[in-house]
């Protein structure tokens, strides 16, 4: 269900305009404006506490914004609840593994795929009889490299595999845009490499928005980059431009890039 690639001057898929979130007196995201174009992987980076996760939660409707706008293909989605945004085609994964641990891997993905039925208010036929839903679930497991794990109870798998499942579930919803919140968080080296390979494959098919700590991964994946510090946007644009920016160099990327 990925959108067709358009003209060279590719169209804007996701855009925020002065997006703001305050918790009481604390402004976690302060007037952040970014643009994500069709097929161009975009990364959001920043130190801990920069407001990245809050930003993702605003993008996907998991938190209500205090001000500003989120536009998806030109449509204002700022005040939509999470489930409506998911249905529009913005799939997200979570920083903290967020799966159904008592379900099998297949059932996790099947449920995700089932969410694309016009309604799941179907009461009397077994869910497993929905062939196209099953097919979508299986394809998502394959894409995420979990085909061999189909029957495993999700909660009993290794951490790395649970992260893969997290991605597989998003894929099973047939999204247009993938918003991935720290897909590499907490992973060992080998697991990370596998995940980066997976993400590279996905970048060819989906528009990726990636929140990540791992700089190597970010630079090998992203075309455009947004740097956030203390809830505000420091710089946003093509990776090379942002990397060269003096402000970013000073504040963030310089020698201390490995520091956190």
């Amino acid at each position: 269900m990925s959108a067709p690639k358009s003209s060279p001057e590719s169209s804007i898929v996701l855009e925020t305009r002065e997006l703001t979130k305050a918790f009481g007196g604390l402004v976690a995201v302060n007037s952040v404006s970014i643009v994500v174009r069709e097929g161009e992987p975009h990364a959001v980076i920043g130190p801990n506490g920069a407001g990245k996760s809050t930003f993702v939660n605003l993008l996907t409707g998991h938190l209500p914004a205090s001000g500003g706008q989120v536009l998806f293909r030109g449509r204002d989605i700022t005040s939509l609840p999470a489930h409506r945004i998911s249905r529009l085609g913005i799939g997200r994964s979570y920083q903290k593994t967020n799966i159904f641990p008592t379900f099998t891997v297949f059932e996790n993905c099947r449920l995700a795929a089932q969410s694309r039925l016009s309604s799941s208010m179907r009461f009397f036929r077994p869910a497993r009889a929905l062939a196209d839903v099953n097919a979508r679930a299986e394809r998502a497991m394959e894409l995420a490299g979990l085909a061999a794990r189909s029957g495993r109870v999700a909660g009993t798998m290794s951490y790395g595999e649970q992260r893969q499942l997290e991605i597989a579930m998003v894929l099973a919803t047939g999204p247009d845009v993938l918003v991935l919140d720290e897909p590499l968080a907490g992973m060992g080296r080998e697991e990370s490499e596998r995940m980066v390979t997976l993400l590279k494959g996905l970048a060819a098919q989906y528009t990726l928005v990636l929140v990540e700590h791992d700089m190597d991964a970010v630079f090998s994946l992203a075309h455009t980059l947004t740097v956030m510090v203390n809830g505000t946007l420091l710089e946003s644009g093509p990776v090379d431009v942002v990397r060269a920016s003096q402000a970013v160099q000073d504040a963030y990327l310089g020698d201390g890039a490995e520091a956190y």
Binding site: R84, T104, R116, R122, F123, R125, A148
Partner: protein, 332 residues
């Protein structure tokens, strides 16, 4: 998770057969108490229907209701209110009407209640349950705190031909037995359906369900109404059996007892709460026979079960009946 381990399935089937055949051997086994026991078992099956319906809310969808008896009682009261005083009501009218009213009330209470979660949900359902209790207790509708009698069983007829005579204890036993099994199967079918899968997922991780693009509130509400309506059916049967309704049917004690059956039996398994209903009621019968202070051993029994059986009776059965640990299918 949807299929029971073979030994457990066989054990449950054996219990069902025992239950189905009870009228055949009961008189021979317990000559002195047969009639009493048959009535008792009928009553327990009715409570089991209620417990299973509560499991849909508590064990499956994660909505712990302490007001479920309101729907049980309402179902019963509807029979009492809709029945003509000295003649038989037409079951094809009273039963659908009673269930429709229960469902409508549940839709309103449910829509308001599911705005809250956790302990607030427990309490708001308690509040609505108590409002239901006092509604029938304090108003002059249907006898107030004294309750009301249903003098004649509803008639089950088609074109004037009687299909079954509910006044006959044996017929009523099998009707309730059929509905008990039917309710179990209905719930199992629902759980396997796309709807059921979503509800089950809500019980495990509601926010994730939302993130996947479902609106959990819709599914919770429908589950709430289905559970309430099944409880209403149980209440209808209970009122028909005893020919009497009173506000105690709606009380929080009744809700609490149903919840105890669910937890004791094993939440989320459907068969567990049914088992819980039997064990709790039979234990009570046993203790009642031993001492007038039966609540004391009953309480100790409940405490012992919690401390010793973390997942209820069903958890114990499933553990005993589980296949030897499935070998981990290792990757290459």
């Amino acid at each position: 998770m949807s299929r029971l381990p073979r030994p457990v399935a066989i054990a449950l089937l054996a219990l069902v057969v025992l239950l189905a055949a009870y009228p055949l051997y009961g008189a021979w086994l317990f000559p002195a108490k047969h009639a009493f026991l048959m009535q008792k078992i009928t009553g327990i099956m009715i409570l089991a229907i209620m417990a299973m319906s509560l499991d849909l809310l508590v064990g499956i969808a994660g909505m712990v209701s302490l007001g479920h008896a309101a729907f049980f009682g309402l179902g019963g009261y509807m029979l009492a209110i809709l029945s003509p005083e000295y003649e038989a009501a037409n079951i094809w009218i009273v039963l659908p009407a009673a269930l429709a009213i229960v469902a409508a009330v549940a839709a309103i209470i449910g829509a308001l209640s599911i705005r809250t979660t956790g302990i607030s949900f427990i309490m708001i359902t308690l509040a609505f349950g108590q409002m239901g209790f006092y509604f029938f207790n304090d108003s002059r509708l249907a006898g107030g705190s004294d309750g009301a009698y249903i003098y004649v069983m509803p008639a089950v007829e088609i074109a004037g031909i009687s299909l079954m005579n509910l006044e006959n204890k044996l017929v009523f036993y099998y009707l309730v037995f059929g509905l008990f099994i039917g309710a179990y199967l209905l719930l199992k079918v629902l759980l396997a359906s796309p709807f059921g899968r979503v509800v089950q997922a809500i019980g495990v991780n509601e926010s994730r369900v939302k993130g996947l693009g479902f609106n959990p509130d819709h599914y919770k509400l429908v589950a709430f109404v289905i559970g309430a309506t099944i409880a209403g059916l149980a209440g209808f049967l209970g009122a028909a059996q005893y020919g009497f309704v009173n506000p105690a049917m709606l009380s929080w004690h009744q809700s609490g007892t149903a919840l105890v059956m669910v937890i004791l039996g094993g939440m989320g398994t459907i068969f567990g709460p049914a088992l819980g209903a039997f064990v709790l009621e039979l234990a009570r019968m046993g203790f009642e026979g031993m001492t007038e202070h039966w609540l004391l051993p009953m309480g100790l029994f409940v405490i012992a079960v919690v401390l010793l059986l973390p997942k209820g009776l069903a958890g114990l059965l499933l553990q005993l009946g589980a296949k030897p640990a499935p070998e981990p299918e290792d990757e290459a």
